[in-house]
């Protein structure tokens, strides 16, 4: 008991301790910052030295190519509507690849998520297996599967669709299972008690709870997949990317077509971004309102 006063430090002691602590924190922060800056600088220098052209030469030329394309497109501005019409089917194909792969990925992702959530899985012992499957699916970049499938199936939209669908399934499987973990298991138990089988329990007990969140994530994925399907087109999987590569490899003289494709892609991405943003906003707010009522 008598130690109480001697044990509690004086104000001076507290102050020295505090300044000591802040100084130490500052030193650590400074060291971290220096290390970070050094890493960025070293990384940049390495990347620069392993690149074909260097940054110092190149940055002045960044706008050369867009300027070239735009000036030629401007000269042939009259051809723009015709070009837009010509490449509209390719845009439709890109959108179809994205939509179909999102749909298939969502279905597969739902299955993976249900299979890897405790309390919902059909075979609880296989939960780790399904988790690993969705981890691996998520880790595969689309281009890997697309390139291999193009070799077997030939060029076209199907390899891209399968590739994107697999990645989507993995990504959504993880997000969905996080959503599932917050869902109440009581409806499932209730349905179980009246003799519902597994699919009925899931369809009637789980999906209505998680539906809005699922749709919201799937919409976000659709945005990402449009970009992915454009990129995969560039390696030969059809759609806008394929047309873009063709137009570009022609070089000068076909830049009006390249500009039209740029424009289509840009407008599509922006429009889909905005629309899905609005929809997602409504979905999440709608569900909040539903929960409150």
């Amino acid at each position: 008991m008598t130690d109480l006063t001697t044990g509690s430090p004086s104000v001076d002691q507290i102050r020295t301790d505090y300044t000591e602590m802040t100084r130490r924190k500052r030193v650590y922060g400074g060291i971290l910052l220096i290390v970070f800056v050094a890493m960025m600088a070293a990384g940049f220098r390495t990347a620069d030295s392993r690149n074909a052209g260097s940054f110092t030469d190149g940055w002045r030329r960044i706008f050369d190519y867009p300027a070239e394309v735009l000036s030629e497109a401007w000269e042939k501005i009259g051809a723009l509507p015709a070009n837009l019409v010509e490449f509209f089917p390719a845009l439709l194909e890109t959108l179809n690849i994205a939509a179909a792969s999102t749909l298939i990925g969502t279905i597969l992702g739902t299955f993976l998520a249900l299979m890897s959530t405790r309390g919902m899985a059909l075979w609880p012992t296989l939960i780790p297996l399904f988790r690993r499957i969705s981890d691996v699916f998520r880790a595969v970049p689309e281009i890997v599967i697309a390139l291999v499938l193009i070799f077997v199936l030939g060029g076209g939209p199907v390899p891209a669709m399968i590739a994107i669908a697999i990645h989507t399934a993995g990504a959504l499987g993880k997000l969905f299972s996080e959503v599932n973990e917050n869902a109440s298991l009581k409806p499932v138990e209730g349905l179980h008690s009246v003799g519902a089988n597994w699919s009925q329990r899931m369809y009637l007990g789980v999906i209505p709870q998680v539906g809005p969140n699922y749709v919201s994530y799937a919409l976000l994925r659709f945005e990402i997949n449009i970009r992915a399907s454009a990129i995969l087109g560039f390696v030969g999987a059809g759609g806008l990317g394929y047309e873009l590569r063709n137009a570009m490899s022609w070089g000068q003289g076909r830049y009006d077509e390249a500009a039209a494709i740029f424009l289509l892609l840009f407008v599509t991405i922006v429009v889909v971004d905005q629309m899905s943003g609005l929809l997602r906003e409504r979905l999440t707010h709608g569900s909040e309102k539903g929960a409150l009522a």
Partner: protein, 455 residues
């Protein structure tokens, strides 16, 4: 319970319930039907049936077989009688002259043991293949008269293909082709050939304990060097390629974060009163994000040429837009009270930002940066395939040759491991960095849930 309208009759209530049930039933069946109809449309739009016909399943079979097995070629030049052995028939995998694996015994008559009783003999004049349960097939390549084949009596089975100038026999044990100029045997093995050392290395074929012993006796450097400079698998180049890919993701993500943070202040309502600047900054973010990474890659590759810098810059530019949007949303949700508190102690503007604002948004910023670091490793692989850098380039090159499928399989495994490692690393770092500030974990999650911006 009291929310029900009490002035409804039972019939009206029943009718309402029926309507509700009908609507639910309709959506329950209508939605899946709609999805199904769309998928049917896609089936025809993508011409899946036509593609199934055009598809080259033979390619698929070689791809799968080649990704886990390899073949060793033993070939005899029928004019000079010279016999050479090479793995995959490549110069890099060739045995030195006068040497051969132990199932090939060189001599005047070279005997090749294909196991299970299958034996091929390259005689001075006659090529023999002893097939158990079938008999001995003899072929005599003559320069002027082509290949004269002698088969056991009876019908010619479909795994033997004989014509005037060529004989080919394919069995489970291997494959023999004889033409006028060349006799060649393929024997198939499981595994990835020469993965550790090539044939010119003194360490080829040594078991692991022996290697460990040699390494302990001071040869570790030489062993590592032989492995590192393996001409067949090019471990050095592959390691560099993976490093380049991660470098692209690292530079792109963090560079984008560093550029986007100051710009994000300009796009917020609470830090920037100028509406025109705010509008402009937001449109810039939208524009940069809308011009996809693909287009940025194409444009930047023109200016900088192929390589990791182009990839890093493409990621940087695209993600500046994304981060600008996320960060400005986070900054708009900042709590004013902390800033006022800091201000009340007499802090000037930079100090207010440093101690009032930054600590509040750090968790959101860090977790987003780390999420994107992982997803950008994947993007860097894809961008590398287009612009020519990193593991993406190696993968496309290996696929274009259309025969090094074991390398393709190796790269795919490496890519998946790389992405999973980055995923684990970013998750670990996120937990380490954000857990320290306990009070803010929930806040970070809240904002995340709101913006829904996970890649």
């Amino acid at each position: 319970m009291s929310t029900f309208a009490t002035d409804l009759t039972i019939d009206e209530l029943k009718a309402e319930a029926d309507r509700l049930f009908n609507r639910k039933r309709l959506t329950n069946f209508g939605l899946p039907a709609l999805v199904f109809v769309y998928l049917v449309y896609v089936f025809f739009a993508f011409d899946v049936s036509g593609m199934a016909q055009r598809a080259n399943w033979e390619n698929g079979k070689t791809l799968i077989a080649d990704s886990y097995s390899y073949k060793t070629h033993v070939s005899r030049d029928n004019r000079t009688g010279e016999v050479s052995t090479a793995i995959e028939g490549e110069r890099k995998g060739r045995y030195p002259d006068g040497e051969a694996p132990d199932w090939v015994s060189l001599g005047e008559t070279t005997v090749i043991d294909l196991e299970d009783g299958h034996i091929v003999r390259f005689g001075p004049k006659i090529i023999e293949y002893e097939i158990p349960g079938f008999g001995i097939v003899r072929a005599t390549p003559i320069r002027s008269a082509g290949v004269q084949a002698e088969l056991p009596a009876g019908e010619v089975p479909d795994w033997i293909n004989v014509s005037k100038n060529r004989m080919a026999i394919t069995t489970d044990a291997g494959r023999l082709t004889v033409t006028r100029n060349r006799s060649e045997v393929f024997r198939y093995f499981n595994g990835w050939e020469l993965f550790w050392f090539t044939l010119d290395s003194p360490y080829y074929g040594k078991p692991f304990p022996e290697l460990a012993g040699l390494a302990a006796r001071g040869e570790a450097g030489a062993i590592l060097n032989d492995f590192w400079t393996n001409k067949m698998w090019r471990h050095q180049d592959v390691a560099w390629a993976i490093f380049e890919t991660i470098l692209m993701a690292f530079l792109g993500t963090l560079g984008a974060g560093m550029i986007a943070l100051p710009l994000a202040f300009l796009a917020t309502r609470n830090f920037n009163p100028l509406k025109s600047v705010r509008f402009l900054t937001r449109r810039v973010f939208d524009f940069v994000r809308g011009v996809d990474a693909l287009i940025w890659t194409v444009v930047l590759a023109r200016a900088f040429g192929p390589g990791p810098l182009t990839g890093a810059l493409a990621i940087l530019v695209t993600d500046t837009g994304t981060f600008g949007k996320i960060f400005s949303e986070a900054l708009e949700n900042v709590d004013e009270k902390q800033i006022e508190g800091v201000q009340s102690t007499g802090a000037n503007a930079p100090q207010r930002y440093r101690y009032g604002v930054i600590p509040q948004v750090t968790p959101v910023l860090l977790s987003q940066l780390l999420y994107f670091l992982e997803s950008n490793t994947r993007s860097a692989t894809v961008i590398g395939a287009i612009t020519g850098g990193g593991i993406g380039l190696l993968l496309t090159q290996a696929i274009i040759t259309q025969k090094d499928w074991e390398e393709v399989a190796y790269y795919i495994v490496l890519i998946i491991l790389m992405v999973m490692l980055m995923d684990w690393f970013s998750g670990w770092l996120r937990r380490r960095l954000i857990q320290g500030e306990t009070g803010k974990i929930r806040k970070a999650r809240d904002t995340k849930a709101k913006s829904f911006f996970l890649p």
